[in-house]
């Protein structure tokens, strides 16, 4: 397991390095002068020049790149222009709530997607199958903000049972504040998981070894748990892993709607304020997070399918 993990880490290194370079390039091909863009039309030439010096934009490109890489190694991502504190500090504060929400969204998607997909597959062609298929399709067709707004209306304006915003206090409060955002985040993925589970279970049900298990006279639940579900879940894990990026995108929107502090909220603030160092830091973290979460989900394979571990 450890060896496998290290091996994976080495494998993702080129992609991560490429992403670092891409972020650097992206933020420096801005048409015009980023310093002027950040300060707006009322800026004096002196203040623009001062900001250029502060950001290091007056230095040659290769020098900027070296500074950037050197800073990364020292975990120094520059200073936020809007908040006037180190970017690394802001990221450290925001990372926890965002990871928690991403986890919440994943849990919701699996808890809703897997059972509904299984039920649909076992009742193939019956009305319940069609109902699940419609709901799953609606799930992946509804934008995150609609889920957010609907949940907000129902649970905070109408029934007033759950908090509308913030992170909550204590363990109970944190979990309570996590429910609605997790649902909003996870619904898109839930639809996807449901569809994949359905087709995956159908595929496994047709396998010879399942027929053999039935023929041996095994208990239906035993056949289902040991032979069908376990194998059917492998593609589900792949889909969840591949969609970590989309999930993080959803987190951004949900944090905006529920006024939840986190990376997404921070990114929106940074974008509205044209705070380039902060934008750069957040994009970096979100890319690294996507890559790592993707690998983490991938490692779950080993638990589900011992053949992969070899």
């Amino acid at each position: 397991m450890t060896r496998r993990f290290l091996h994976r880490l080495v494998q993702i290194l080129p992609t991560a390095l490429g992403a670092l370079v891409l972020v650097f390039v992206l933020l420096r091909i801005v048409p015009g002068d980023p310093a002027a863009a950040m300060l707006g039309v009322s800026a004096t030439p002196e203040s623009v020049q001062a900001l250029r010096t502060q950001l290091g934009l007056d230095r040659p490109l290769w020098r900027q790149f070296l500074d950037y890489v050197g800073g990364l190694i020292r975990l120094d991502l520059g200073t936020s222009l809007a908040f006037r504190v180190p970017v690394a500090q802001l990221l450290a504060q925001a990372l926890g709530p965002t990871l928690l929400l991403a986890l919440g969204g994943t849990v919701v998607s699996v808890l809703i997607g897997v059972p509904t997909g299984v039920v649909a597959a076992l009742n193939r062609g019956k009305p319940i199958d069609q109902l699940v298929s419609v709901l799953a399709l609606v799930g992946i067709s509804l934008p995150v903000f609609v889920w957010g707004v609907v949940l907000l209306v129902l649970f905070t304006l109408h029934w007033r049972v759950l908090p509308a915003s913030g992170l909550g206090e204590g363990v109970g409060g944190t979990l309570k504040a996590l429910v609605l955002p997790s649902l909003a985040t996870g619904m898109f993925l839930a639809g996807l998981v449901s569809r994949i589970t359905r087709s995956s279970v159908l595929g496994v049900l047709g396998q010879d070894y399942v027929r053999t298990a039935w023929a041996k006279g095994l208990e239906p639940m035993h056949v289902f748990r040991r032979h069908v579900l376990r194998n059917a879940l492998i593609p589900v894990v792949t889909v969840v892993g591949l969609n970590m990026g989309t999930l993080l995108g959803g987190v951004v929107v949900v944090e905006g709607i529920f006024a939840r502090p986190g990376l997404g909220r921070l990114l929106l603030d940074a974008i509205y304020a044209r705070d380039y160092p902060l934008i750069q830091g957040i994009v970096l973290v979100s890319v690294l997070m996507t890559i790592l979460l993707n690998q983490l989900v991938d490692l779950l394979y080993t638990l589900l399918d011992p053949r992969v571990a070899a």
């Binding site: 992609t15 992206l26 199958d129 069609q130 707004v149 990026g245 990114l267 994009v283 993707n294």
Partner: protein, 316 residues
Amino acid sequence: MGRRGFAGGWETSAVRRLRRAIGGSWILWIASGFVILLGAVAFLAPYLRLTDPFAQSLERLAPPSPEHPFGTDRLGRDVFSRTVWATRYALAVGIGTVGVGGTVGTLWGMAAGFSGPFVQEALSRLVDVFLSFPPLILAMVVVTLIGNGVFPVVVALSFGVAPRFARVARAVVLAVRVQGYVEAARALGASSPRILVRHILPNTLDALIVLATLTVPTAILTEALLSFLGIGIVEPTPTWGNIASMGQMVLREAPWVVFAPSLVLLLTVLSFNLLGDAVRDALDPTVSRGVWMRRVERADLEPEPARIASRRIPAG
């Protein structure tokens, strides 16, 4: 071989397979009807004698009525008219993104699949790098850098779409380039570009069309998210995302401002997704079919012998 060559042969067989697949499914007919309606509305919006979508009035947050079917927003603008006009921008973004991102990505993938090991490795690594960015966050950053509006959004979304096309195109090219008929064309002295265009591109079409149909709803959805966040296509230009965004502020007093454009957005994305699934089921026999599809006989999925012959004969 004449103009009908490979693409012609592909076209007729695919259309036939698709028609056979949609055949008896009423829900797919409804979805197709809705997409056609959207196209018509988008095209004819200026001639529909709608209320001016930009005209503000004192009738603020008015509930839905015969005069204002979707009510009015905070500035007294007619939400129905704005929602109808927004169709133009949604479709423009959806189709534009497939056009720009799809073209760039296909060229990227074909170049990767058809070049030597070093270039191929570099181009494929680049795909991995782009794919490691959360699509929405990448689009947010690009829009911030290049500005708001329809074309910037198309460019921003293409950053996420192109690598997906590249990956698919590369995979197909790698599979096709070792086929006998490509070898034969080369032996007959066909140049690389000719082989690429006449022999390899037509075989990537199935996979790319599936991807394209499924990219349209994703692009429309992502544009709505960007506009909802206030950084995609911005006010006063009406888009479903920014109408909903304005509506979120008056959620309590005027829920219709959020829900009317959201409902249209839902129906749009749903229809495109349904059609996308149908296209995928019709063109890609390896994927299991959704419940909406008429059972396709196994023979339907096998290309007819004549078609195989017309595909295999080198055109050199």
